[in-house]
């Protein structure tokens, strides 16, 4: 266990060229999670290379914007990797405005959907994504949907509400006003 922890820390430090500190937590079942903050966004690429070298798997990416982070003028993003049952989370702070982060798709193919999803929910630009198009939300909806007030019926593509009925009527030509 100690060897594993040291190996992960050393590999990350070596690849990123910075001293990486990981907080390891073990729960009552003996399952371990690792928590690490990288000091700058650019380090995520070498850190992810280190994880790939350890035969890790990208499990999930979580972008989020808390009130406390907003007050500090930052936003956050967490990359969760699986190392044979141990989840390692690498957290990064990004600027509130003009946040940019390198794509992990060259290293982890499944980063594709994760990156496309958080790009439509938060104001974060992914650099180097092979096809940075919408994943779930319609192109007519402005990006960064989680950072703006949007009518719920619009957010859910108007799939089951008055909004859908109005769209149908407009397309069938029964609502001249909406067609104009």
């Amino acid at each position: 266990m100690i060897d594993f922890k040291e190996k992960v820390s050393e590999t990350l430090s070596l690849r990123t060229g910075a001293e990486v500190t990981i907080e390891w937590r073990i729960n009552i079942k003996g399952v371990m999670t690792g928590w690490c903050r990288l000091r700058e966004a650019a380090l995520i690429l070498p850190a992810a290379e280190a994880v790939a070298g350890l035969e890790g798997r990208l499990s999930m990416i979580t972008a989020y914007l808390s009130d406390s982070a907003k007050q500090k003028g930052v936003r956050e993003i967490a990359f969760h990797f699986d190392l044979d049952g141990t989840t390692l989370t690498l957290g990064i702070e990004l600027p509130l405005e003009g946040a940019r982060i390198p794509s992990l798709t060259p290293l982890f193919r499944n980063a594709d959907w994760h990156e496309r999803e958080f790009m439509e929910l938060y104001d974060i630009q992914v650099i180097g994504h092979p096809a940075p198009r919408r994943l779930f939300l319609d192109r007519s909806i402005d990006p960064a949907a989680f950072e703006r007030l949007i009518p719920y019926s619009t957010f859910s593509n108007g799939a089951n509400s008055k909004a859908l009925w109005e769209k149908v009527m407009a397309r069938s030509g029964n609502n001249r006003k909406e067609l104009q």
Partner: protein, 360 residues
């Protein structure tokens, strides 16, 4: 005909939920695929940030139907992990029982759909009939056939009385024979083998590359099961074999599910034998502190992961989850390439996709 693009929707693909595919074909052979998702996007990750922890248990159970127990139970585990709540031993077993009951129902549903697509109407009816044993079981114990409402923060909100435990044991006895029969049919029936063997292959290296999980991964030789790799609830005390196949085809995925259904029966029986007495839920719950945590479980479709971030209030700052179908969709690009258009529905359903879970 090269470069022709056709759009396939839920009806052509025998899916119960809306998912569309933009398929590039050369004659009747698939050469490219784009998955068009988002048709049941309900903004649920936004909604959970506007509700307190208790409300979210109810909301998350309604995320989808087939894995409806996995979401609230994994969410509760995340809250408990963060607050340092140790759930009673009896609750650990009862949570495992609820999840395994749902697993059998879910896997049988998929095997029935596979039979339906390959034109085995009688087998479809037989699998659904066997599945009814589990549906009856859920209805009798939990009062519902799909949403069990079994979980609360700190434990469970249902119990097995001595009578209901005996009933559950008898239901397991009742389903064993039919499960063996189904396993034998899927393993040996010539017509089924002809339609499923060598079809929609996901080689092991691609399964790793696409980071697929659950039965899709295990059918491609990846020996990974969250219950074994990161034990939770009572799974560290239960004995089970992780079902792994090597072929990576439609048949291998069906065989993994049928083997897992048999293992689930064994797990439920072990739980009934080992079920300790005691409370169902912690008497008092602490404040949920500020912090962040991860919780995982093996849902019927594979690894389900939750990330919870809190600030000391009763509402999450962020609650994010990634469902197993999320990566499995993308891997269809490998499974479908070079296959006939007519086989698309069978291959798509062989990953047992959950669209409500994917879109959220």
């Amino acid at each position: 005909m090269s470069g022709t693009v056709i759009t396939l929707g839920p009806q052509q693909l025998a899916l119960e939920e809306p998912m569309y595919f933009s398929v590039e074909v050369d004659g009747e052979i698939v050469v490219g695929l784009d998955v068009l998702a988002g048709h049941v996007h309900r903004g649920m990750e936004h909604l959970v940030m506007k509700r307190n922890f208790y409300q979210n248990i109810t909301l998350l159970e309604r995320l989808c139907s087939l894995c409806s127990n996995s979401h609230p139970s994994t969410f509760c585990t995340a809250v408990e992990e963060l607050a340092g709540i140790r759930i009673p031993a009896r609750a650990e077993y009862l949570r495992a029982i609820a999840d395994e009951i749902k697993r059998i129902s879910s896997h049988l549903f998929n095997c029935a759909i596979i039979a339906h697509i390959i034109g085995q109407g009688t087998l479809f009816k037989r699998v659904m009939e066997v599945r009814e044993i589990m549906q009856d079981t859920k209805e009798s114990i939990y009062g519902n056939r799909m949403d069990l409402a079994a979980n609360c923060i700190g434990g469970v909100r249902y119990d097995l009385t001595p009578e209901s435990a005996v009933y559950l044991g008898k239901q397991m006895e009742r389903i064993k024979g039919p499960l063996e029969e189904l396993y034998r049919i899927y393993a040996t029936d010539h017509a089924i083998r002809t339609r499923t063997e060598g079809l929609g292959v996901l080689p092991n290296r691609d399964a790793i590359n696409y980071a697929v999980v659950g039965p899709v991964a295990r059918a491609s030789g990846i020996d990974y099961d969250v219950r074994r790799k990161s034990p939770y609830w009572a799974y560290d005390r239960l004995r089970f074999q992780v079902a792994v196949e090597q072929a990576g085809d439609v048949r291998a995925r069906a065989m993994v599910r049928l083997r897992e259904a048999r293992e689930a029966v064994s797990l439920i029986e072990q739980c009934l034998v080992d079920l300790p007495p005691g409370p169902l839920c912690s008497d008092t719950l602490p404040e949920i502190p500020a912090g962040e945590t991860i919780a995982k479980s093996e849902a019927p479709r594979g690894e389900l992961i939750y990330y919870l971030n809190t600030d000391g209030t009763d509402m999450p700052v962020r609650l994010k989850w990634r469902v197993p179908s999320y990566m499995n969709w993308d891997a269809l690009q490998v499974m479908l390439k070079g296959q006939r258009v007519a086989d698309i529905p069978l291959i798509v359903n062989s990953i047992d996709p959950c669209i409500s879970c994917t879109d959220r």
